[in-house]
């Protein structure tokens, strides 16, 4: 028969509770005690049953990071990947595991919400159905929402200042003297897309620059789409001298089109991106872009979730991360 925690406690002379703690929160047990406990466990070939431990504590030390299928790929997404990385590392520091899943995973075939697995807390990234959040809260599972804002009582939302970022980018182009500026806008969640478009349009108005509908495009935020639309726009009469792209991927695609047309960035066409993702340093010249500190958002989401799990009150329901214009070589 396999050794139990009682056998280990008997052999090493510490209480069952101390033995349990030596595994669950080793930092709470003295080094001397830990050594004796681990040695006894080794001698008895004792391995604590993880599921049984979760049963007793009704905690799994798992956090779910749920991304809506619409935003796929989840891990390859250049905006969400630094957020996930930071959340994962923050979790590891606290002995929590992060699992990445989609909203499909929390539904029954008939569409009803069903939280199949126990998770001690949940981070929703971007789009989410309000009923899903309600269901989690009904089951007393703390929720944090990142890159989205919903006006629900006590719901912590961590979002970026998309409007402010678009204003920074557009204003910078205006101040450089550009008076024909195009917009390549990616189809993100309505909230994000609309805030970025609004920042662009309002800033042009402030500088008395007309909005030319021929040079405004609403596209999928992919490299190929950015390249294709820019190729078309470069053929336009009276074309802009600068473009604001609402993410770095679109901007990288647009840069390709400019280079392939035998033109230069930024001399012939200036380009500004958004996100300051890894892509912005891969392209040459490197991309002038609006930085969203996605790693900070991921880390903050995790820390807030730990506070909620520990039963601490929410100090601020809506945390908005400021953006910063990073001037590099494309504008």
């Amino acid at each position: 028969m396999a050794a139990t925690i009682i056998d280990v406690a008997r052999l090493c002379g510490y209480s069952k509770a101390t033995v349990s703690r030596a595994y669950a929160s080793p930092e709470a047990v003295s080094e001397k005690a830990r050594e004796k406990i681990y040695a006894a466990a080794k001698q008895l070939n004792y391995a604590p049953n993880a599921i049984a431990r979760a049963m007793v504590r009704q905690q799994t030390e798992n956090i779910a990071f749920i991304i809506h299928e619409k935003q796929y790929p989840a891990i390859l997404n250049p905006f969400y990947s630094p957020m996930l990385e930071a959340a994962m590392q923050e979790g590891t520091r606290r002995n929590y595991s992060l699992f990445v899943t989609t909203s499909q995973d929390i539904h029954l075939p008939n569409g009803d919400i069903y939280i199949k697995k126990h998770m001690d807390g949940v981070i929703f990234a971007g789009e989410v159905d309000i009923r899903v959040i309600e269901e989690f809260r009904k089951q007393s599972i703390p929720v944090v929402l990142v890159n989205n804002y919903l006006d629900m009582d006590g719901l912590v939302c961590i979002s970026a200042d998309h409007y402010g970022g678009a204003v920074q980018a557009t204003e910078y182009l205006c101040k450089l003297g550009h008076c024909k500026i195009g917009l390549l806008s990616g189809r993100f969640s309505p909230q994000v897309s609309e805030a970025r478009i609004e920042g662009f349009v309002k800033t042009l108005a402030k500088y008395d620059i007309p909005v030319d509908d021929r040079f405004i495009a609403d596209i999928e935020p992919a490299l190929e789409d950015g390249e294709e639309i820019m190729t078309r726009m470069l053929r336009g009469v009276d074309r802009p001298t600068a473009f604001f792209c609402t993410n770095d991927t679109i901007a990288a695609g647009a840069m390709k089109a400019v280079t392939r047309a035998g033109l230069r960035v930024p001399e012939d066409i200036a380009i500004i991106g958004f996100d300051d993702s890894y892509i912005s340093r891969v392209v040459e010249p490197e991309l002038t872009t609006v930085r969203i500190d996605a790693a900070k958002m991921g880390c903050l989401a995790m820390q807030t979730l730990f506070d909620l799990i520990a039963g601490m009150p929410v100090e601020k329901a809506h945390i908005q991360i400021p953006t910063e214009l990073i001037v590099r070589g494309t504008a």
Copy 2:
């Protein structure tokens, strides 16, 4: 008191086992039965306890994807991210969750191995301590190793043909007529690095091209390191007309150095990368590179793990994925 599965079974007229199945494997229950069961559950406000269910089945439907800290970042790693994405999506299709963790997470403070959480199976990516694998197997948790090969009885290893890929790249440069070829080699695990270097060196020998140590570098596989070393190499007397870089990130950095020196890729310096990661299509001209189908490796790892969990025998312990040279614009 909260409703139990017995209450639901009584109300809908189906057995406890059928009610349980309607949640655990809905596809195994008829639509008619499911509808009645879900309706009864809703009426009684019944929610199955995920931990209790795991306790009964001694299964959590969680798979761990463990990456050694040395290979950090885990999620932002352009080689591992498509593997993770594919593994996650394959898991989701089978109702399994994937959690990403590091090897730190499976050790006690004294360095002993301790599998803190229950996982139904484990994928190790790259470097791993043999004792860790032994511990998992001792606890009957199936293991698959990707991007590494260890000669352990019955251990499934899924790796890429790093040697063959390096031969393809080098041979292509030789056939283009290059007779001075440099090597920018990234520091990966010894197995991977050595196989790629060996493929390069042996191919040069085959084509009677001398290896010039001045133009062989062993560097961290980062953008900045690739740029820095290439900037130095461009100043060398009798410099190569082509470089083989052992990943795309190094190649993108090297391209920056060439462009900034006022030279052209591929006219002045031809460059070939390795991995066919996302980066290869972001740079302009797009990168000629060796494709490793990392998504296929991730998917295969997950499928093999499911077979092992289901108790099926291992057909082939070492699966080697072939590489393919993708010719684009840089060589």
